[in-house]
Amino acid sequence: MSSDTFRGYRRPDGSVGVRNHVVVIPSCGCALHAAAQIAARVAGSVLLGYDEGCGATQHDIDLGATWLAQYGRHPNVVGTLVVSLGCETLDAADLTRRIAQGWAPVELLVIQQEGGTRRTIERGAEIVRGMVAGAGGYRAEPCPASALTVGLECGGSDATSGMAANPAMGAFSDLLVAQGARVILAETSELLGADHILTGHAATPQVACRLTETLEACEAFYKATGEDFMGKQPAPGNVMGGISTVEEKALGDALKGGSSPIVDVLEYGQAPRLPGLSFMDTPGNDPLSVSGLVAAGCQVVAFTTGRGNPMGNPIAPVIKLTGNAGTFARMGADMDLDASPIISGEASIAQVGRRLYDLCLEVASGRITAAEATGHHEFKLLRQGVVF
């Protein structure tokens, strides 16, 4: 098989970026405003809208810091400013040190030490301007498709998702896996009812056991709330679009993974350890799930929708496809690819899967996605425990 390529940015640590983002990371909710103002003042910088970091369990704080550090060291990031208030639980100096272990520059500003909001914004904008000026110097060069880690996501699903966009994404995933890329299927709560499909694709009995364990833990966690899944899985829009039960949604969702073996089961935000298709345990909530996929190192995310979900991510392009011709017509500026020809019989699943694959390599080479063009920067990290 020939090796396909895209034009990416080779980093000193051996990773490959597809964008050159300078990010501003608040280390707690009280630093969010200053961080947002800095990002808003400097074109070419982007905010990670983190608003936790304080008053949570140490477990959640530690995991949040780990994922933020992974964003700071993500191959699509070429510079980071951490903005701290100065009294939060999350250790902003440690977060900064962890990002500094990577190759890209990082700076820390503490609002209480800088002398308040205005001084922090002024000083921060100056630092970030310098980082953005330096970001222009990177040159793209041919890189193999195997250097990509791609997340698979669906949101705002309807009955067309399981017929067109998700099977096309499955064909796309198989093409990436054949190139030796890393691909991550996620959204545990949306797969309850497709357990046998997932375990049937497990590369080993150990992976099958871990999939079963992950799905059962998710089910128990949600059932402990005492609430039926209806209204959440499926969500009201899913139901309007013809999906009646979580099982029906799951069987359509599972098609995103294609026919490749599932080689590993990952925690939320954990980087894939093996080439091929991995499963990551994330909620079905789209900003949470996509943020976890990107924390794990996905340079690109592919996203199917039925009703029409425009969301993106601050540092990774999110490619949208829909199998609903009406959605594509109504929300064309939020979509990148029309998968509805599968339903009208004008294109096969394999053909649309190939189009998505070609588009993914173009996006990895710099083509701007609809979510990037419309400025979507949704960012939300998992928190499981209480807020103090």
């Binding site: 009646s244 039960t245 099982e247 069987l251 039925g306």
Partner: protein
């Protein structure tokens, strides 16, 4: 004649490929005749019963049970949350 899509040969429901008014004669998208007529309006993407399904029986799509009928469902009826409930997503069984 309007097309509906049966995803798997074992399915007892099919998906409407357009908004179907009551009384629409149906054919399967893969060419198979089914001799069915919609008993009520079926919106695009929603399910129509291809076989009678009794209360408590499985509704099959993708060749797999997607839940249980909560009422008797006749040929050509709309199958959705009013007559189909999830097993997996129900706390109170």
């Amino acid at each position: 004649m309007a097309k509906v899509l049966r995803i798997h040969p074992d399915d007892n429901v099919a998906m409407a490929l357009s908004d179907l008014p009551a009384g629409t004669p149906l054919e399967l998208a893969d060419g198979g005749a089914c001799g069915l007529v919609t008993r009520e309006a079926i919106p695009f993407g929603h399910k129509v019963a291809l076989a009678p399904i009794r209360a408590g029986e499985s509704v099959i799509k993708y060749g797999t049970c997607i839940g249980l009928a909560t009422a008797d469902i006749a040929l050509g009826q709309h199958v959705h949350v009013h007559n189909l409930r999830s097993i997996r997503g129900s706390v109170k069984r």
